[in-house]
Amino acid sequence: MKPAAFDYVAPHTVREAVDALGDTWRDVRVLAGGQSLILEMHMRRICPDLVVDINHVAGLDRIGLDDGTVRVGALVRHQVFESPQAVPGPLGRLCANAVVNIAHPPIRTRGTLVGSIAWAHPASEWCAIAVALDAVIEVRSSGGVREIAARDFFLGPLQTARAPDEIITSVRFPLLGGSTGVGFVEHRRTHFCFAQVAVAAAVTVHDGLIVDARIGLANCADRPVRARAAERVLIGADVSAANDHPFADAALAGDHQPVDHPFGDADLAGNRLPADHPFARAGRAAADEDAAPVDEPYADPEYRRQVIAVLVGRTLRQAVADWRSHAEPEGGLR
């Protein structure tokens, strides 16, 4: 298993990279971290004619802040986000919680956030966060620049709205305000595996009530999902209710009976929230309405719906706990 032969260029400016990508009669690929591309080239599932290595392009390795948004350049490695201070506020905590689930340290020293968005794996943690937070993907070609909303960007497994001659220069995320709490929970078989299910949540609390909720699901459909039905359930929910059942797991009431599954989570059989608890209802809405799990080895769709319901509840509890520990002093509850 060795890559097929290809031509290689290593431009120093975005301009030069864009010119190289303009060669549209050949299969031209951007090489960022290479942690997906080179692997695919080994398998010869991708055999590019030309590889455009952007690792020498100046200025792409920055995280920039402007106007309430954070702009992540195309060469910012996964590893950078392991520090919650890499990005200010709750978004920094969300990124730090999520990134440790991506592969392991030597992959994270090379792989990039933008490369993950470009690759658009349905199980990608960054892609789920991008759709949850309405990220904006900034692309450039010889025709100029264009911005694509995350909700319009992911078209299916490894399929995006990016044209082959376009380079993603950066991805913009809205910074989350101080009264927002965040959570990220993932279930996977081993450290080397992609997520069976992962959930990202950001809940904004005002006067003890949830006024905004954003939930992103990874590996719950053929592309990253924003769980809008689950979010709707949460608006107006009293977060003190979550506190009444601090150790109970949401969503295992009602129609969802625990299954005896070899890879099942111990907590599946554990404590339950009342079926009418908002987190339980949000978990069921995410599993039944938002998700469309695709069959895959080790985790059939029915099992994954169970896991989604549990993990959404768990992520919401984490988000409320995060809000409590970071926002309560200023935000004030009651």
């Binding site: 290809f6 080179i38 080994h42 392991h104 340290p105 030597p106 020293t109 450290h191």
Partner: protein
């Protein structure tokens, strides 16, 4: 393409195809076969080396990307007089290898992080989780890395290698 790899302090001027991955360049072109190739998927970690001080999978980097970079492999761990690196001594003492196929990768991932372990013992778990060993059951490897991190304060780790690079 003409490139120069600096491996363990020695320059290797090479003429390689762009498709040559770093691991193959080290093994086939530099004759340094200590770096092993298992999966070529980034999963097993047998090929882990340090590039400019950071642990990377040598199967998922092109040799041309390392032109001018400082590469450190398992051959560069021992001192010039053949004195084993503290990590190598600890692996031996803790029986942290059986067949030895995974060992270069574990040694290099540990070498890249050894000085940070003091403040963060949980780092050892993350390092050990990063690679695959089919023989030892991991626990001896975890103990060996902990032992090397405790036995050898940062400065003593630097001395055997600084002559080499």
């Amino acid at each position: 393409m003409n490139i120069t790899l600096t491996v363990n302090g020695d320059d290797y001027p090479l003429d390689v195809e762009p498709r040559r991955v770093l691991a193959d360049a080290l093994r086939e072109d530099c004759g340094l076969t200590g770096t092993h190739l298992g999966c070529e998927h980034g999963v097993c970690g047998a090929c882990t080396v340090l590039v400019d001080g950071e642990a990377v999978r040598a199967c998922l980097m092109l040799a041309v990307q390392c032109d001018g970079a400082a590469v450190r492999t398992v051959e560069g761990l021992a001192g010039p007089d053949g004195e084993p690196h503290p990590l190598q001594r600890a692996f031996s003492a803790e029986h942290a290898l059986q067949c030895g196929f995974c060992t270069p990768g574990f040694l290099m991932i540990a070498a890249g992080a050894l000085e940070s372990i003091g403040d963060d013992p949980e780092l050892v778990d993350r390092l050990v989780e990063s690679n695959i060993c089919r023989c030892t059951g991991y626990e001896p490897i975890r103990r060996a890395i902990m032992r090397a991190a405790t036995d050898c304060p940062p400065a003593s780790d630097r001395s055997p290698t600084s002559e080499g690079s």
